[in-house]
């Protein structure tokens, strides 16, 4: 039949173009069908212009309707979907993305869940549309995020659960459980609180993040498998793990205190690193000075001894003369520079004039520039 070949055209060769680009359309396309139907009717009218062969016409119409009915079983599964084919309500097979066929309604129907897509559930915060920023912002949900720890502290935990339908679990996902998304969320909350409730606050806040995540994931998976939900938890991510807002300052202060303690120690170490080498330097200086003194003393002693020995060698050759000479030369040098007052005070006593000596005039004959401190210094030398 010619119309059948033509009718097969759009299905056989046409679909790849429009269906590949159509992102949202699912299953059989009513517009296409109507179009097809209309074209089929046109053909029939062309073949049966006068309505002479009415018996054959009815048969043709019936066959045409049957064919259209049969063709309505074609459907397309998008790349993130799986096709679940039900025969009279019973799940008979699951088909992969692409063009597929099921027996036409009402024998078989198809469900197209987005089974390959990874879904996200956020707990402790909600994503809300923010028209001002043309994006989505987080809003905290404290009644979801505040949890009691094993040592009766409270932590603020926001986390995200990534989950998908198990490759072989799409039937379970669709048919075993009334509210899969709600169940995943409820189980996630319960599991997180159970895990948090078992541990203490400090490890939760610091090191045990990964451990907590994997424990929650494990517990969730176990529970969901027990329900036969067909859900696979791919990841549990802890977004925010903080002390509650009321006490976060105190927690930060503990960190600040640790830093302060470290700083105090560092400062002390700096001081030590400065003081000890300085002391070493001073010690070395003291030793050097002492060595210097020693060498100076020895050198001076050597020099003076040598000088004395030289003089003594000469002296031994002519003791009296040398002695006199040395005496006179010394006196000459001493008296040559000094002021002298020679007074012949008689042969023995000499006390006759001493009482009249104007000592006050004699004594202050110091250099006029000398100040109060200098005479003392001079006296000590």
């Amino acid at each position: 039949m010619p119309w059948k070949n033509q009718g097969g055209g759009p299905w056989g060769s046409g679909p790849k173009g429009p269906w590949g680009s159509g992102p949202q359309s699912v299953g059989p396309r009513p517009p296409d069908l109507e179009d097809l139907l209309r074209r089929g009717q046109d053909k029939i009218q062309q073949i049966l212009p006068g309505g002479h062969f009415s018996g054959m016409g009815i048969a043709l119409i019936l066959i045409g309707a049957l064919a259209i009915w049969g063709l309505s079983g074609f459907f397309r599964v998008q790349s993130e979907e799986l096709g679940v084919v039900l025969r009279f309500g019973k799940h008979v097979r699951t088909v992969q993305p692409g063009l597929n066929y099921h027996l036409p309604y009402p024998i078989e129907t198809v469900l197209l869940p987005k089974a390959l897509r990874v879904s996200t559930i956020s707990i402790g915060m909600t994503l809300i549309d923010d028209p001002a920023r043309r994006g989505r912002t987080m809003r905290d949900v404290p009644e979801e995020s505040l949890m009691l720890t094993g040592d009766e502290n409270i932590v603020d935990v926001d986390f995200t659960v990534l989950w998908r339908i198990k490759p072989d679990g799409v039937g379970n996902y669709l048919f075993n459980i009334q509210n899969p998304e709600g169940t995943v969320k409820a189980v996630a909350e319960s599991a997180m609180r159970e895990v948090i409730g078992r541990s203490e606050i400090q490890p939760i806040l610091t090191g045990a993040r990964t451990l907590t995540e994997s424990n929650v994931q494990e517990l969730m998976q176990k529970t969901l498998d027990y329900y036969g939900s067909g859900v696979q938890i791919t990841q549990v991510q802890m977004q925010k793990v903080d002390p509650p807002a009321q006490v976060i300052d105190a927690f930060r202060d503990v960190q600040a205190a640790q830093a302060d303690a470290q700083r105090a120690q560092n400062e002390a170490q700096t001081y030590a690193n400065r003081v000890v080498p300085e002391a070493r330097g001073r010690a070395s200086q003291i030793l050097q000075v002492a060595e210097g003194y020693k060498e100076q003393a020895v050198a001076e002693a050597k020099g003076q001894s040598a000088r004395f020995e030289k003089v003594y060698d000469e002296y031994r050759k002519a003791p009296d003369v040398t002695r006199q000479r040395i005496y006179l030369e010394t006196m000459e040098r001493i008296l040559g520079a000094a002021e002298k007052l020679v007074y012949d005070g008689g042969s023995s006593g000499g006390q006759s004039i001493v009482p009249y000596l104007p000592l006050n005039e004699l004594t202050p004959r110091r250099p006029p520039q000398s100040t109060a401190g200098q005479p003392q210094q001079g006296g000590n030398r």
Partner: protein, 300 residues
């Protein structure tokens, strides 16, 4: 022509057959089980999905959900065995395992939810009331949940319901108690912070004191060594002088005195009041040098 009558009759027959056929089949969806009732009397339950047959007109089909159903329980305050209060928010998952009993005893899922909520709350209070807060939160949460599930399951059995799971979602302190916990957390952290700071200061002071001590010791050691070195120097000096001057003590006394006079009296501000009869002026009065041995009296 008998054809019109025959036509109408055959059409009517076809119509009746269609109606009969339609009313004697039914489908069971994958998510359902079906209770078949004949004139009010339940005959059988069909759990297998697919196409099924029944007696037309007299059999009624009642579909009942076969899936695991939600039961969300609003949060409520529970008093634990150690008379501490907790806000507990639990949920249950259940399914209808006996469609006939379910249909007869309770009828609809809404009614079942109401009934189960009452039972769950009672069970929750009963079980959690026997446990301490620590057991609920930390130690025995799992066992307690199992216990609640078992109790609830036993009670719900009469309704043809199987309780799959009961889980405590939240078990938190009431707001007033939370404030107390916050205060305790805060004071605990303050204590920790003070401790850290004090420890830091203590270690710092230890380090400083150690450094000071070390520095003092280093300098003292150096002084000690220095004195020894000076002493050695002095000793060497004494030895050298003794060696040299020991050769003639008398000349040494004279020579050294001369050096000392010169060094101490040489400056310009020294004035001498001299008597002419001193040894220096021996020849001042006579060329024979008659005076001798008198001292010059230096005055400064």
């Amino acid at each position: 022509m008998r054809s019109p009558v025959a036509g109408v009759a055959s059409l009517l027959l076809l119509f009746i057959v269609l109606i009969l056929g339609y009313s004697s089949v039914f489908t069971v969806a994958q998510t359902e089980q079906v209770l078949l009732v004949r004139l009010g009397e339940p005959i059988r339950v069909v759990t297998e999905p697919g196409l099924n047959f029944k007696a037309p007109f007299i059999d009624t089909v009642i579909s009942i959900d076969k899936r695991i159903l939600d039961l969300e329980n609003p949060s409520q305050e529970v008093i634990a065995a150690d008379s501490r209060r907790l806000v507990v928010d639990a949920f249950a998952r259940y399914k209808i395992k006996n469609a006939l009993r379910f249909y007869q005893s309770i009828g609809s899922i809404q009614a079942a939810n109401i009934q189960l909520t009452t039972l769950l709350n009672a069970s929750l209070r009963r079980v959690l009331g026997e446990a301490t807060l620590t057991q609920i939160v930390r130690d025995d949460r799992d066992a307690l949940m199992v216990k609640i599930r078992e109790q609830l399951d036993k009670e719900a059995d009469g309704y043809g319901i199987q309780v799959v799971d009961v889980r405590i979602r939240r078990a938190d302190l009431p707001e007033a108690n939370s404030q107390a916990v916050y205060q305790r957390m805060q004071t605990e952290r303050q204590r920790q912070a003070a401790e850290f700071r004090a420890q830091g200061n203590q270690k710092g002071q230890e380090t400083r004191a150690k450094a000071d001590r070390e520095a003092t010791v280093i300098v003292a050691d150096a002084n000690s060594t220095a004195e020894q070195v000076r002493g050695a120097g002095d000793a060497e000096r004494n030895r050298l002088f003794a060696d040299a001057y020991g050769k003639d003590p008398d000349f040494f006394a004279f020579y050294r005195s001369m050096t000392a006079y010169e060094n101490s009296l040489k400056s310009n501000d020294t004035r001498f009041l001299l008597r002419p009869d001193s040894d220096f002026f021996r020849f001042f009065g006579s060329s024979s040098g008659k005076f001798g041995g008198a001292a010059a009296a230096p005055k400064q």
